[in-house]
Each structure stands twice: as structure tokens, then as C-alpha cells.
Amino acid sequence: MPRLLASLPVIGLAALLLPGCAEQQAAVPAAGETEALPAGAVMLTGAGATFPYPIYSRWFHTYARENPVRVNYQSIGSGGGIRQITEGTVDFGGSDAPMTDEDLERARHPLNLPTVLGAVVITYNLPGYSGTLNLDGPTLAEIFLGKITRWTDPRIARLNPDQPLPAQDLLVVHRSDGSGTTFVLSDYLARVSPEWKQRIGVGQALRWPTGLGSKGNEGVAGQLRLVPGSIGYVEQAFARQLKMPTAALWNRSGSFVAPSIEATTRAVEGIEERVGEDLDFRLSIVDSEREGAYPLASWTYLLVPRHFESCTRARALYDVISWAILDGDEHARALHYAPLPADVKQLVLRKWRESVSCGANREPMMREA
């Protein structure tokens, strides 16, 4: 009883703070823990990145209604996902960043297959500023390097000629926990700014030259709300739910692009040339050259072992994910994720079918394919 009482304020606060999230979570019971397992059902487990957790659990839950497959995905973080797939304790892993060659070697080369796209948005708190904030890569790098400290800096004003920016100090808020969001941002900044590449580099946790660290998207959002003049970055879905203002970014084809689901999907159109013959999807999709593509796009990977002991499980996993990728776009959009373009979907599934074997004789997973 005391525990129950003590938890009441938490629930109340959480509901107040994150209306979007509360709603989302209520609508999506965690996959695999709801109904009793029907006879002959397959139970699959996965673990990894937190970023795709809402869409994965929604997909798996929806799929389980019609099919005897239960998937239990635990959002323990990308690092945890890679560790678990390396140790073979799960049927599949999830990771926001692709595995390195070294990781792959140790984990017997699991496939890194993109399932869905997300975007990182630049968000800010500028009281009295109602226009869209436009930024380009080099300016963004200067901001996060701590070289721009006032909103009235000419480098920002040059990109926003229509409305004068308030005379405020600029404060950077960044993630303090290791995060795929930070990875995507630093990947982009390293591409557009040699200084960033040399001084800071790319990673899920960085040695930040400036600013305050807050834990999680919600921590960054909370800090931004409190400090006028602050600027930070969060996942697109999160910013949408809290209706936070977002900046439009200069795209390499020559226009400012506001973050949207369509602009995110556009970032991987035409990716076929880059994945090459062996269909290696471990490539960055930030700073796309495509017209209308949002520069801070990323995809999240499913880590699938190349060999399954049980053909039933191998096929069940393929079935549920191929259903999600091919028929789950509406669910993805509803939760502010961007679906893959149709031809990329086909490539991903082809790679999977061709690479995975199962059973004692190492037969191909798909007999007739």
C-alpha cells in the first residue's frame, strides 16, 4: 500500500508532463505480455534501441492479434542490443547506430537491416519569435561548438532576414545519456564542419565543448522550456507530441527543409546506388543530396543473426517483420516515424531472404524463394 501511494504522484506527474507519451503508451500494451499464448505459437524475443520501441511494440501487438506469433522486445538501449545479439541471448537485436566491423566480427556477422526512419529535430525556446528558424549545417556546428553565444549573431541573422531575432543569450542543451539522437546530430555536424570532425567527432556520447546535459528527450525538453534562449535537439516524434518549435535546415540541394515524415523518407530515396551489390545498409543517411530531403534523418536497424537453429522461428521472425515493413506504414506514421520507400523495403527483405539460413543442415530460410 505505501508503495502504491508513493507511486501516485509519479503517475500524475508523468501524465501531466508527457501527454503525448502517456496516450501513446496506453494505446500500446507491451508486446508479448498480454494474452495467454495459443497452442503452437512462436515466442520471439528481441532487445535493443529505445528509439523504435513504440513502433515495434505497436507492430508486434497488431500482428499478434491475427497470427500465432508473440514478439517480446525490450528497450534496453542500442549498446545492450549489440551485446545481447553478440552473446546470442535474443532472436534479434535493435540498434540505432550500425554495428562496426569489429562488432560484426565478434557477433558472427548479424545482418544490419533498416526497418523504419526517424529524424532528429533542432528545437528552441525563443519567446516572442514566431517565424520559422532557418539554420544551415556550418552555423549549427558553430552553435554546438559554443562559438555563437547570442541569438543576434550575424551568422544566424543572415539565414533569417525576415524577422529580427530576440537579443538573448544562446544556451545549448544536449543529451547527457548516450543516445542515437546524439549520434545522428554529431554524424551530420562532422560532415558539414571540419572543425567538429576534428575536435569532437561522432558518437552516442561526446565530449561537449559547451552547454548543459539533460537526461533523455524529456530532460532536454524540460530544460528548453525553462531557459529562454536555449536550443537543443530531440527526436522528431517527441517534438511533435509536445508541439515544440523546430528549425528548418539547409539541404544540400539548396533549400530550407522543415522536418516532416515525407522529408525524412526522401532522405533515403535513391539509396540503391550506395548500398551496392552486397546490400550493406550500414551507411549514414544524414545530409542527403535529394531535393526536399531533411538532413538530420536516420534509420534504425534490426540485427538479425545469419543462422537460426529453428526454421520455424527464423520464418516467424521474417514474417512478422516483413509484414511490419510492407503493411505497417500507417502505424508508423501515426507514431511520427517515417516508413522506408517501397524499393528500399524490397532490398531489405531480399537481403534477409538471401542471407539467413536455418536448421542443422544450414538450409536457406526460404525454401521456395
Partner: protein
């Protein structure tokens, strides 16, 4: 005035002889002689007794083993290095050690006078109808989950501190005293210390209350009979008598402050810098573990985080040992 029952730990904290004879001496008769049930009982109890030290040893062993790679790579330099760059794999613990120690001491500095004052009020002055609800409310503070403290910290405490305490401090004193140098962000070492102090007050005050009520009634009456005022009785008789226990209480609070994670992570600003100013962001050992462990990739990175855990472990052991020694010396000094 009815004496309140004294909990067992109050005696230990006060360094009073509670009369434990050596373990083996007490157990030997039971498992060598006696009937079967007594022997089984004794063996069972030894098992319970040893389970915690064994668990402790197992934890130390695992953490040390996991941090071995980092220990070999950085050696003692890990403790004095201020680098923390996961991208290039260069790690050092000094900013985190500094943040943990300073925020905890700051918390103790704020909490100690408040908690002791509260305990004195409740045991010496307050009428029973007032003392009971206040004591209850204080203890309720200890039951609040730390993430709630953190959220409250972000949305209530930090903005308030920023506008009413930090900004005036930085504006008036910041230019002359480095301790209060700006800029003012709100989240800071000070905010971390304040939130920790609120969290440890219940622990310090309830233990202090117990040891104060354990002061024998005769001592108080004797002081009053000699013509002491209430103030003198409290300060010259009751408090000195309870001093070892109060020190124990303070250490209990410090121990909790050192290990607190969630709430302080949310308000301290998470910047691995060593700054003289308490208005600047800092970082603690527990916070960096909570922040970076889940997404840490690479063996050296994980190992460095484990070594931070090991150091945190070491610091808590040192603090507790020191506290035991202090309590023991004060108690012994008084007896002689």
C-alpha cells in the same frame, strides 16, 4: 515522560556497549552440543550471517574484474585525469569524483543544521500533538521516489533557485568571489546539493531524534536541578551525550548523498568540469553511470564506467570506515 524504545542501531551508532560477544564464542556451544534442532538453527543462522559479506565480496570481485581493462590502460592516472571522451576512448574520473564529493558535502552542510534543529525541536520543545505530525511528515519525505524529487527539482526548485538565489549571488558577489561566479543556468552544483540535502534530512533527523530521546532522563533532570536553563541543558548535556549518534546520523546521510543518482542527474547539469563556482554545472559518478551505461559501446568505454563504479564503491567504504572510527574515538574518549 515515558522513555521511547531505543532501536538497536541507535546504541551501535552511539557507540554504547550493546554487548556482542565474538561470533564463534556465541555459536560454538550451539552447534557442537545441544540437540539437532539447535544445531540446524545455528548453522542456518551462520549461513544468513555470512550471506551478506559473501554478496559484498562477489560484487566487489565482479566490478573489479569488469574494470580491469581500464585499470590496466590508465593506471592511477584514471583518478587524476579530467578527460572524458568516449569518441576517442580517453577516460578519467576526476571531474566525477569532484562532483560527487562536493555535492554530497554541500548537501551535508545544508542538511545537518536543519536536521539537528528539527530533531531538537521535536524531542525537547514541541508538544506531542505537534511533534507527531511533523515527525510523520519528515519521514514521509524519505518515502518519495527520487525521480519525483528530480522532476520537482527541474520544474520548481531550479527555476526558483535561479531567480531568487543564484542570479543575485552572481550579480553581487560573482565578480569578486569565484565561488559564486556566473553565468547562471539554474542547474548547477548548488541545485544538486540542495536537492540532496532535502533527500537526506529525513534520515539525519530521525536518527538524531532517536539518539536524543535515548539521553537518560536523570541527566536532563540533574542539569535542570543544578539551575541550567533549557537551552543550557540541551546544548551542554543532551547534545554532547548524543554526539556520537548524531555523527553516525550525519554519515548515514552522507552515504546516501554519495550514492544518489536519479534526482541529482536531473538537476546538476551533467558537465564533466571542475569549477570553483557552485553556480556552474557539474557531474557525479552515479550520474555518469546512469547516463552512459545503457548505450556504451566498446570494451574500454564499458570498463572505464565500471572503474568509476569501483571508485564510488571505494569512496563509500572510506567514508563509512572513517565514520566508524570517528564515532568509536568520541565514544572511547568520553568513557575514559
Amino acid at each position: 515522560m515515558a522513555m521511547q524504545p531505543v532501536p538497536e542501531h541507535a546504541g551501535v551508532l552511539a557507540g554504547l556497549p550493546t554487548g556482542p560477544r565474538p561470533l564463534l564464542h556465541r555459536l560454538r556451544p550451539a552447534w557442537t552440543t545441544g540437540n539437532l534442532s539447535d544445531r540446524i538453527y545455528a548453522v542456518l543462522l551462520v549461513g544468513f550471517g555470512l550471506s551478506l559479506p559473501l554478496l559484498f565480496a562477489a560484487i566487489v570481485y565482479r566490478v573489479a574484474a569488469a574494470s580491469w581493462m581500464s585499470i590496466r590502460e590508465f593506471g592511477w592516472g584514471f583518478i587524476t585525469s579530467t578527460a572524458w571522451n568516449p569518441v576517442v576512448g580517453d577516460f578519467g574520473a576526476l571531474p566525477f569524483i569532484f562532483g560527487t564529493v562536493v555535492s554530497s558535502l554541500l548537501a551535508l552542510l545544508i542538511a545537518l543544521p536543519l536536521a539537528i534543529g528539527l530533531a531538537i525541536f521535536l524531542t525537547e520543545l514541541a508538544p506531542r500533538w505537534l511533534a507527531a505530525p511533523i515527525a510523520f511528515a519528515t519521514e514521509l519525505l524519505a518515502a518519495i521516489p527520487s525521480v519525483v524529487y528530480g522532476l520537482w527539482g527541474i520544474f520548481v526548485l531550479v527555476p526558483w533557485l535561479r531567480e531568487t538565489i543564484q542570479r543575485p549571488l552572481a550579480d553581487r558577489l560573482g565578480h569578486t568571489i569565484p565561488l559564486f561566479e556566473g553565468p547562471v543556468y539554474g542547474v548547477s552544483m548548488l541545485a544538486g546539493g540542495v536537492i540532496l540535502s532535502i533527500m537526506i534530512i529525513p534520515f539525519i533527523s530521525s536518527v538524531t531524534r532517536e539518539v536524543l530521546s535515548a539521553v537518560p532522563r536523570e541527566q536532563r533532570e540533574a542539569a535542570l536541578a543544578l539551575g541550567a536553563t533549557r537551552w543550557e541543558m540541551t546544548w551542554q548535556v543532551a547534545l554532547p551525550y548524543a554526539l556520537p549518534g548524531i555523527m553516525g546520523a550525519a554519515i548515514l546521510g552522507l552515504g546516501r548523498a554519495l550514492g544518489e543518482t536519479m534526482a541529482i542527474t536531473m538537476v546538476i547539469g551533467n558537465r564533466p568540469d571542475i569549477s570553483l563556482s557552485i553556480l556552474q554545472p557539474a557531474y557525479t559518478m552515479a550520474s555518469v553511470l546512469a547516463n552512459e551505461f545503457a548505450e556504451a559501446s566498446g570494451d574500454l568505454y564499458l570498463s572505464a564506467l565500471m572503474q568509476i563504479a569501483l571508485i564510488l564503491f571505494g569512496i563509500t567504504i572510506i567514508v563509512n570506515t572513517f565514520a566508524r572510527l570517528l564515532v568509536w574515538r568520541v565514544a572511547r574518549g568520553r568513557r575514559s
